[in-house]
Amino acid sequence: MNVLAIDTSTNVLGVGVVNKEKVIGEYITNIKRNHSTRVLPAIEYLLKDCGLGIKDIHKIVVAHGPGSYTGLRIGLTIGKTLAWTLKIPLTGVSTLHLMAASGRYFEGLISPIIDARRGNIYTGLYKFSNGEWTNVLEDQHISAVEWAKKLNEYNEHVLMIGENAPTFQSVFETTLKDRVNFASVTVHNPRPGELGLIGMDQPEVDVYSFVPNYLRLAEAEAKWREKMGN
């Protein structure tokens, strides 16, 4: 079973083809350029180079957020449309879980970081042990300061992954001291191969109603709900 994995959640564009035995191919860039012009050409290029046609793909896995709203919609729209029109299953994987996956051999907790601006981050807490992933704390939108306090309740080392993580280095070190570790730049770019593997055995989602996990309301929506006293 060949899985096509698509990640456009952040500045990193990742496309991969994997099956149970191996990661057949991956295309990864980390540049500040439009995903919209580049994702489908990347898929076309990768498949061609791997000697595969789109009909050789049996499942689509998309990183469904959190992340850039527009970025998420690009990957999801492509994933939904492919799955629907090729009549193959689609599944979504947390972008944060995907980021954490690159730290699977770290003995301790893993906290992937995406900058959500104004001192806030998108993060979650993950752990890999005995060949299994555990989501210790669910994905959330939270201030970095608050997150450091939460992490401090665990008496474990924490690995911060993601290219935005160093932005919050002093915040985390102030609270967690030497229990906080920062991944190297080679670990920051999420691996589409990991995305495909995580999603391979996950149940499929409904392609029609599948939407990104933004983790935040649109600003206008949040203000409106506040006004309505919700």
């Binding site: 439009n34 919209s36 012009t37 580049r38 994702v39 489908l40 050409p41 898929i43 076309e44 789109i54 709203y69 527009t70 919609r73 690009i74 999801l76 729209t77 492509i78 939904k80 449309t81 492919l82 629907w84 029109t85 090729l86 392609v207 029609y208 109603s209 939407v211 990104p212 933004y214 649109a218 600003e219 206008a220 929506e221 409106w224």
Partner: protein, 342 residues
């Protein structure tokens, strides 16, 4: 010769739409999911919310369009999509969907300018005869377009400030009418009298450009002054007087353009083409010209839809217009530059 089937996709603003059109003129299906109910509470279209709704709706809408048309992807000649102008995040959903479908089924991808789409809505009603002049009026556009042939677009006049539809929405808000205000003004105007002499912006002689910001300010000032003096203005009369100013300028300039360019047809296009005041006035004005034909699409083809995109896409397909998988949404896409003819 085989029939040509084009799937059109349109997501430039707050309607998620897909349609299948046969041979550029026959609507096989035309599905529109409107978000208007969701945006009403904000008093206007919120771009981020529009984008979110498009992702929710797009597959439903395309599936329904394909099923109603009773065609398979292997029956299609090509896929046409609005690539601009519009809200960039909203446009992107349609563009990515269209590119993905074109890629999955190895189909030609045809980029379509939103305004070209509005103009080609008319070809779903009657065959176009050139040269012609099209008046495009909507919430975002007020333009006079000269066409000497299929695929040729020359913008001969456009608004220098607000679009006509924008002025309608602002006056509607002033009169406490619900969003979107255009239809409400039109309805009120039909019951009122033209008693207030609002300004008409004719601009320079020979100019086909428009300006509605002065008119908008005049309406606001008149209503506020009356309010301060404790004078009761009838909203029906304000609406009628405002609409009289807008439609007089639109109609006179359109007729002048038609005369200057020797047009055989005048096409009305865009959301404001649904306005009865404008339709009636233009129809009456054209009566004086024996060889001038006026085409006005039915209401559901005036507002944003994908049948018009497929209809335009049909012509562009024949002209050899294609996009590849790097096609991007272009919120400021220009119509003149989109023209297939110089």
């Amino acid at each position: 010769m085989n029939d040509q089937y084009i799937l059109g996709i349109e997501t430039s603003c707050d309607e998620t739409a897909a349609a299948v059109v046969k041979n550029g003129t026959v609507i096989m299906s035309n599905v529109v999911a409107s978000q208007i109910e969701s945006h009403k509470r904000f008093g206007g279209v919120v771009p981020e919310i529009a984008s979110r709704h498009h992702v929710e709706q797009i597959i439903f809408v395309i599936e329904e369009a394909m099923e109603k048309a009773n065609v398979k992807f292997s029956d299609l000649t090509g896929i046409a999509v609005t690539s601009g102008p519009g809200l960039v995040g909203a446009l992107l959903i349609g563009v990515e969907t269209a590119k993905t479908l074109a890629f999955a089924h190895s189909l030609p991808l045809i980029p379509v300018h939103h305004i070209a789409g509005h103009i080609y809505a008319n070809r779903l009603v009657a065959e176009m005869e050139f040269p012609l002049v099209a008046l495009v009026v909507s919430g975002g556009h007020t333009e006079l377009i000269y066409m000497k042939d299929h695929g040729h677009f020359q913008v001969i006049g456009e608004t220098r400030d607000d679009a006509a539809g924008e002025a309608y929405d602002k006056v509607a808000r002033l009169l406490d009418l619900p969003y979107p205000g255009g239809p409400h003004i039109d309805r009120l105007a039909a019951k009122g009298q033209v008693v207030i002499d609002f300004p008409r912006a004719w601009l320079e002689d020979e100019s086909f450009d428009f300006s509605f910001s002065g008119l908008k300010s005049a309406v606001i000032n008149t209503v506020h002054n009356a309010h301060q003096r404790g004078v009761q203005l009838k909203p029906e009369d304000v609406a009628a007087s405002f609409q009289d100013s807008v439609t007089e300028v639109l109609v006179k300039k359109t007729i002048l353009a038609a005369e200057k360019f020797g047009a055989k047809q005048i096409l009305l296009a865009g959301g404001v083409a649904a306005n009865r005041g404008l339709r009636n006035r233009l129809s009456k004005a054209v009566e004086d010209f024996k060889h001038l034909q006026l085409i006005i699409p039915p209401l559901h083809l005036c507002t944003d839809n994908a049948a018009m995109i497929a209809a335009a896409g049909s012509v562009f397909y024949e002209k050899g217009i294609r996009a590849d998988l790097s096609l991007n949404a272009n919120p400021g896409l220009s119509l003149s530059r989109f023209s297939t003819e110089p």
